[in-house]
């Protein structure tokens, strides 16, 4: 057995001995421990990828652009929009985001895209996450972590059973999704670790998975301690129920659970979360509202779960490309070009809309169909990585985002 295996096993054992009573609950979510435990001073970055091409013209509807309502017809969000300034509103479901923007903890970029995004979801998502040539198979967020190598290692975590490309690469990262707990101290995990001793893929994956389980179970233990006197504790919902589903409640809990991992001392500094279901070709209004409500609650759960740590956290919400300026024949929209990115965090510098607005005048539409891009998404990524995570400028221009010198970091974000 490796020494690291023993370390996982013994820490799991001691926690389990402390609070055997909690074990029957599974990983229940209200349980992430007291806010005071947030590790101070460690800067955190959360990237949320909206898959399927989220409609920026609905996320931050350009209510002041006279061309908007005629192009979008039934889909235009005008009176219903939450007020921002005269030019833009906010989708009515994005209440948390709207509140954060109101208190200077949120900004948005209404016309961003990757260069040469194309209109294929899958190529564009790869491009968004890899941001380098075809011969590169790692993601930019992993390469950014690699560039920070020296000193305290940065921990990466993806949420969900399938690893997103953006976090794949030379730096080993963790992944987690709600579900039943594994007995980390049982024989089987240790025996399997022995079988994986020489396996370069499965060995590290299992070791990291077990470590995350120990963190999760430590939180479970804390909750059991906190709620020992609370009669309803034994009936607390299991994670697999409370965290799954599309409801606002489930999203809030998931955000809170992710915050729990980030608060841990050796927890995640860099988190990637993917949300799908944004490819709204038909009957867009209802489907998009549900997904944006989910996003909003996830962000709310994350913010409240981080407590004071929110001051050290930056959240960036992006999508692979936008959607057509015009409504299509099935009350939806087709693949477009620019969309909206959201930037949130407790330590943002003041400032308004990020980047220029190209307007929706017919002559300004890209290929006479899409909102044009005025801002290279890489400039936004670079601005956040440089100011918030202290990533080296030269690494940003060369290894992390190759050949991107023409897309300088946006300054003054954090």
């Amino acid at each position: 057995m490796t020494s690291s295996t023993q370390a996982f096993a013994s820490s799991a054992l001691s926690r389990r001995r402390l609070l055997a009573a909690g074990a029957g609950l599974g990983l229940a979510l209200q349980m992430w421990g007291p806010r005071a435990l947030a590790a101070p001073g460690r800067r955190k970055f959360v990237l949320v990828i909206l898959r399927g091409a989220a409609d920026g013209l609905s996320i931050t509807p350009p209510v002041g652009d006279r061309a908007y309502a005629p192009l979008r017809r039934e889909l235009a969000i005008t009176e219903a929009a939450l007020p921002l300034d005269g030019d833009f509103g906010m989708h009515p479901e994005l209440k948390t985001v709207h509140r954060l923007i109101g208190v200077g903890q949120g900004r948005f970029a209404p016309a961003v895209a990757m260069p040469a995004a194309g209109r294929s979801h899958f190529e564009a998502q790869d491009h968004l996450e890899c941001a380098a040539g075809d011969d590169v198979s790692s993601g930019w967020l992993n390469r950014a972590m690699a560039s920070l190598g020296r000193g305290a290692p940065v921990e990466g975590l993806s949420v969900g059973p399938v690893a997103p490309l953006v976090l794949r690469g030379p730096v080993a990262t963790s992944s987690w999704s709600p579900g039943r707990a594994v007995e980390t101290a049982a024989r089987l995990p240790m025996l399997v670790q022995d079988l994986y001793a020489d396996d370069p893929m499965l060995g590290p994956a299992l070791a990291r998975g077990l470590k995350t389980e120990v963190l999760a179970q430590a939180n479970l233990a804390r909750l059991a301690a906190d709620s020992a006197d609370t009669p309803e504790a034994p009936n607390a919902p299991r994670v697999s129920r409370g965290l799954l589903g599309d409801s606002r409640e489930a999203a809030t809990r998931l955000g809170d659970a992710v915050a729990g991992f980030m608060r841990e001392e050796s927890g995640a500094d860099v988190v990637a979360i993917s949300l799908d279901g944004f490819d709204t070709h038909a009957n867009q209004a209802g489907a998009l509202s549900r997904r944006l409500a989910y996003l909003d609650s996830l962000l709310g759960g994350l913010q409240s779960g981080l407590g004071q740590g929110w001051g050290e956290t930056v959240v960036l919400v992006v999508t692979e490309f936008g959607r057509t300026a015009r409504v299509n024949g099935t009350l939806g929209t087709d693949h477009g070009t620019a969309s909206t990115a959201l930037l949130l965090g407790g330590g943002l510098k003041p400032g308004g809309v990020i980047g220029d607005w190209p307007t929706l005048q017919e002559s300004r539409l890209f290929e006479n169909r899409d909102l044009a891009s005025t801002t290279d998404l890489r400039s936004l990524f670079k601005g956040v990585l440089a100011a918030h995570m202290d990533v080296d400028r030269r690494a940003l221009d060369t290894t992390i985002f190759p050949d991107s010198a023409k897309a300088p970091p946006i300054l003054g974000l954090v």
Binding site: V182, D194, M201, T330
Partner: protein
């Protein structure tokens, strides 16, 4: 490149090409492993044409739609009758839900029990190539029939036939929004523009056209432009199916709705299509099937699925050559795969997906899933059957699945499954049956040393070589 010895070939035949060895399967393949696989490429599921939607499904869908409409209508009027209508709607919904669950279970059980593991893997590859993901009830209820009627009967036939069957099945027409796509200059659009009753604008939806080009035929580098997508979408207008108000025996039948079709010739990828109506879309589909880009794109995808995430170029070239020589005769492409020495490399380069892992775990002991709950863990593993995340289908590469969370979830499932499945069997014997010459000494030793049958079987399932193929 030389083939490995026959013992190893037999193990590879059952585990890499097939869905994992059932007891006795490796022994059956040992005589001639390639012939063992080639014999499966002639198996067909259906002897005659299969209905797009079986009668029982069409009835359930009709009942559900009627109950839903009646309820919504009463509810809208705030009529108390709505309360009385709700139980009927709930019943209709649960009938459909049970049918969908039975579809999923039937497929998983087929994977677990079939003697033609290679044929089943080949069919699953094509179902994923022409992926249709679940959504609302109606859509999800079409996926099982889609695989049965549009995919399985054609997977060893001509690619062009498979393509047309897949793109014209109601499941695909619903999934990629083809149903509501109307030619802007079609008689239907003109009629609606004249009518004042509706403010709704009808028009094109280019989703199906784009995904056919990008995902199903020539691939994203296939040399098409946005203009080609739009032209193709115009050609596809009118392609629809008989809806749920039609007589039950017609529900789900594909038909061409001439009045929704955009009139005029179309130009797609440099070819002008003067033919009108339904023939226009079919001509374009047939031309796309015959394009060399299609042969190249899909040959590489087959090699990626069966052999390695980064497949040997020589293997891709062989598949492509077979495809082009036979105009996409898929049994011949399958034969080229099976007879290519590059496909038999001793090292297992593919990491099993969660579905493949569970199916092979059932096969190892000759078991099968019996109830929907037996598949529940697939949802937590991110691989719920019928719920592919996008039209691109499920991820293929190990990097997507071999995550810390993914490995933990396999361990959790194995801890639960192994004690229930092993019974009185000897895990060391099961290990030899399941992996044959692929069983490594370290795993054999760990299985033999285990403190219980269940632990030994669990170690086999979690072993590096069982997790791969």
């Amino acid at each position: 490149m030389a083939l490995p010895d026959r013992e190893l070939q037999a193990a590879i035949a059952a585990t890499r090409f097939g869905l994992g060895a059932r007891p006795g399967e490796i022994a059956a393949a040992r005589g001639d492993p390639q012939a063992f696989l080639l014999a499966q490429t002639r198996r067909m599921d259906a002897s005659g044409p299969v209905r797009a939607l079986p009668r029982e499904r069409a009835e359930a869908l009709q009942t559900f739609r009627q109950a839903q409409a009646a309820f919504l209508e009463a509810n809208q009027r705030q009529d108390r009758k709505a309360l009385d209508l709700r139980p009927e709607l709930n019943t209709a919904r649960s009938v459909l839900r049970d049918q969908i669950a039975a579809d999923v279970l039937e497929r998983a059980a087929r994977g677990a029990t079939t003697e033609a593991g290679f044929a089943e893997r080949w069919a699953l590859f094509w179902a994923n190539h022409f992926s249709v993901g679940a959504g609302n009830f109606v859509r999800t209820a079409t996926i099982g029939p889609y695989e049965a009627a549009a995919i399985r009967p054609h997977v060893f036939g001509r690619f062009a036939d498979l393509l047309v069957a897949a793109e014209t099945h109601p499941a695909m027409l619903i999934y990629l929004d083809q149903n509501g796509s109307v030619g802007p200059d079609s008689p239907l659009a003109q009629r609606m523009a004249r009518g004042k009753a509706t403010q709704r604008q009808v028009g094109l939806n280019e989703n199906l056209a784009r995904e056919i080009l990008e995902l199903h035929t020539v691939g994203v580098d296939g040399g098409y432009t946005q203009a080609d997508v739009t032209e193709f979408a115009r050609a596809l207008t009118g392609l629809t199916f008989r809806g749920f108000n039609a007589p039950t025996e017609q529900v789900g039948e594909t038909y061409f709705r001439q009045i929704a079709h955009q009139p005029g010739p179309r130009s797609v990828m440099g070819v002008t299509y003067e033919v009108e109506g339904e023939a226009q879309a079919l001509a374009i589909l047939n031309d796309l099937a015959a394009r060399p880009q299609t042969a190249r794109f899909i040959s590489r995808k087959i090699a990626r699925h069966f052999v390695a995430d980064d497949p040997p170029p020589a293997l891709v070239a062989r598949l492509e050559a077979a495809w082009r020589k036979t105009d996409g005769a898929l049994d011949q492409v399958a034969a080229a795969l099976v007879t290519s020495c590059e496909a038999w490399a001793p090292e297992p380069a593919k990491f099993k997906t969660p579905y493949e892992f569970m199916v092979s775990s059932w096969r190892a002991v000759g078991a099968a899933p019996r109830k929907p709950a037996d598949l529940a863990m697939l949802t937590a593993m991110g691989h719920r059957p019928f719920y592919a995340p996008s039209p691109e289908g499920w991820p293929e590469e190990a990097a997507a699945w071999a995550t810390p969370d993914g490995v933990i979830k396999r361990l959790v499932w194995t801890q639960d499954y192994a004690p229930r499945a092993i019974g009185a069997a000897d895990p060391s014997k099961i290990a030899v049956e399941a992996l044959g010459a692929r069983l490594r000494p370290a795993t054999a030793a760990a299985v033999a040393r285990a403190e219980s049958r269940a632990e030994g079987f669990a170690l086999l399932l979690m072993s590096p070589e069982f997790q791969r193929r």
